[in-house]
């Protein structure tokens, strides 16, 4: 009885309260509540793009900050990501219909010999939420998969991920092959993964090492803006 009384009725919140509540619900990984709130905002006439950016992406940005600061850990981030995914699942077809700004196209994948994709999936989701088109190559990618996809998709950005000390050097193999083929400077190359660091990113010839998904989004935006300024 008292539980029922304590239950928050999302539909009774005004828009700004509801968006703040969505940030909280994302933080707590409450996927069903996120789905419900997305439907409420759609019913109230919000555009899918506004829901995505103001409620979901902003909520995940807060999650990202607390992960970086050691307040949240991987399980909580995964639950939050699961909740965001549920919201995005509703919004994705609507975004196609209503249109949303496209910031660029990214080919992303985990390198050869590595099957870890949690970080890569988070980056892909956050990049997609920020307005990038994502071509996700999945795990265990040899150099030719990356290069074929970059050319085929006319992508702007290559994102490579690795969790293992033993697989991270493969990123250099990919970049060296791009240099050999004379296509290195045609793409922005971003790298990430737990054992990587900025020095490594520089040493292998990437454009940037991205510590987490939020940094990846900001870095990609920055490089795309520079690219447009050059054009």
């Amino acid at each position: 009885m008292s539980d029922e009384e304590d239950d928050l009725i999302l539909d009774e919140l005004d828009d700004s309260e509801l968006v703040l509540q969505m940030h909280d619900d994302l933080y707590d990984g409450m996927a069903d509540e996120i789905a419900e709130a997305v439907h409420i905002l759609l019913k109230r006439g919000w555009t899918p793009y506004d829901i995505l950016t103001k409620a979901l992406v902003e909520g995940m940005r807060i999650v990202g900050i607390d992960f970086r600061d050691g307040i949240l850990f991987v399980p909580e981030v995964l639950l939050a990501a699961g909740a965001m995914k549920k919201g995005m699942h509703i919004l994705k077809p609507l975004l196609v219909e209503t249109g949303a700004p496209q910031l660029g196209k990214m080919v992303i994948g985990t390198v050869k010999g590595d099957i870890h994709d949690i970080g890569k999936n988070l980056v892909a989701m956050m990049m997609e939420g920020a307005g990038f088109e994502i071509i996700d190559l999945g795990i265990n990618n040899p150099v030719e998969d990356y290069i074929d996809a970059l050319k085929r998709e006319k992508a702007d950005i290559l994102g490579m991920s690795a969790l293992l000390t033993t697989t991270m050097p493969y990123m250099k193999t990919v970049i060296d092959t791009m240099v050999e083929q004379g296509i290195r400077d045609d793409y922005i190359v971003l790298v990430g993964g737990a054992p990587l660091n900025e020095e490594f990113g520089k040493a292998i010839g990437s454009d940037a090492y991205c510590r987490d998904a939020a940094v990846a989004v900001e870095t990609a935006k920055e490089f795309m803006a520079r690219k447009h300024n050059q054009a």
Binding site: F73, P75, G113, I115, T166, P195, L196
Partner: protein, 190 residues
């Protein structure tokens, strides 16, 4: 004067067993918390602090860590400090033998050692949040195919524990007896 072995807490039993087996009376063991295994970015600073505190008290200091997810940073730090460490990417590799491990080129195996079989709950299941959210299991382990238990000792109870861990993770179980592998060689030269 003695040799100090600064080791990952996950290697404590194995290092002590080797010291006893080989009667290495010149060796002393100091362990850093095994849970650094979960936060490898903290390993280089923790090792440096331990080396700094032990300087001058021992003839030699040896770091019983492999790279352990530090992306080369631990090796760089040890070089700066003038101390040696175990070669190889991690304990799974040096227990099996670095060459043999690399030659297998296994991509879809998740490894347990005696320590991790014994401490599966505390070092795998709980830190990954699987005690509260078992639904996350396939996000973590969906791309793995088998759990390989690299056994340092013949211990039926540990084998059963590792087998049960494989079942909980939804992975095929395989046991390989490795003994102490390259750890013995590394300490022998320390």
């Amino acid at each position: 004067m003695q040799t100090l072995i600064i080791a990952c807490g996950a290697l404590a039993r194995e290092v002590l067993a080797l010291i006893k087996l080989n009667n290495w009376q010149h060796m002393e063991l100091q362990c850093l918390p095994a849970d650094l295994h979960l936060r490898p970015e903290k390993i280089p600073d923790s090792v440096e602090a331990a080396v700094g505190a032990a300087r001058g008290k021992y003839e030699r200091i040896f770091v019983a860590y492999a790279d352990c997810g530090t992306g080369g940073l631990l090796a760089a730090r040890c070089e700066k400090l003038g101390v040696e460490m175990i070669s190889g990417p991690h304990c799974y590799s040096f227990f099996e033998g670095n060459e043999g491990f690399a030659a297998r080129g296994e991509v879809t195996s998740f490894y347990l050692t005696d320590f991790l079989a014994r401490q599966f709950e505390a070092f795998v299941w709980k830190p990954m949040g699987l005690d509260k959210h078992p639904e996350l299991r396939d996000m973590y382990f969906g791309n793995y195919e088998k759990l390989v238990y690299l056994a340092q000792t013949e211990d039926e109870a540990l084998t059963k524990a590792a087998q049960s861990a494989a079942k909980r993770l939804g992975l095929v179980f395989e046991r390989r007896f490795t003994g102490y592998g390259d750890l013995r060689k590394a300490l022998d030269q320390a």
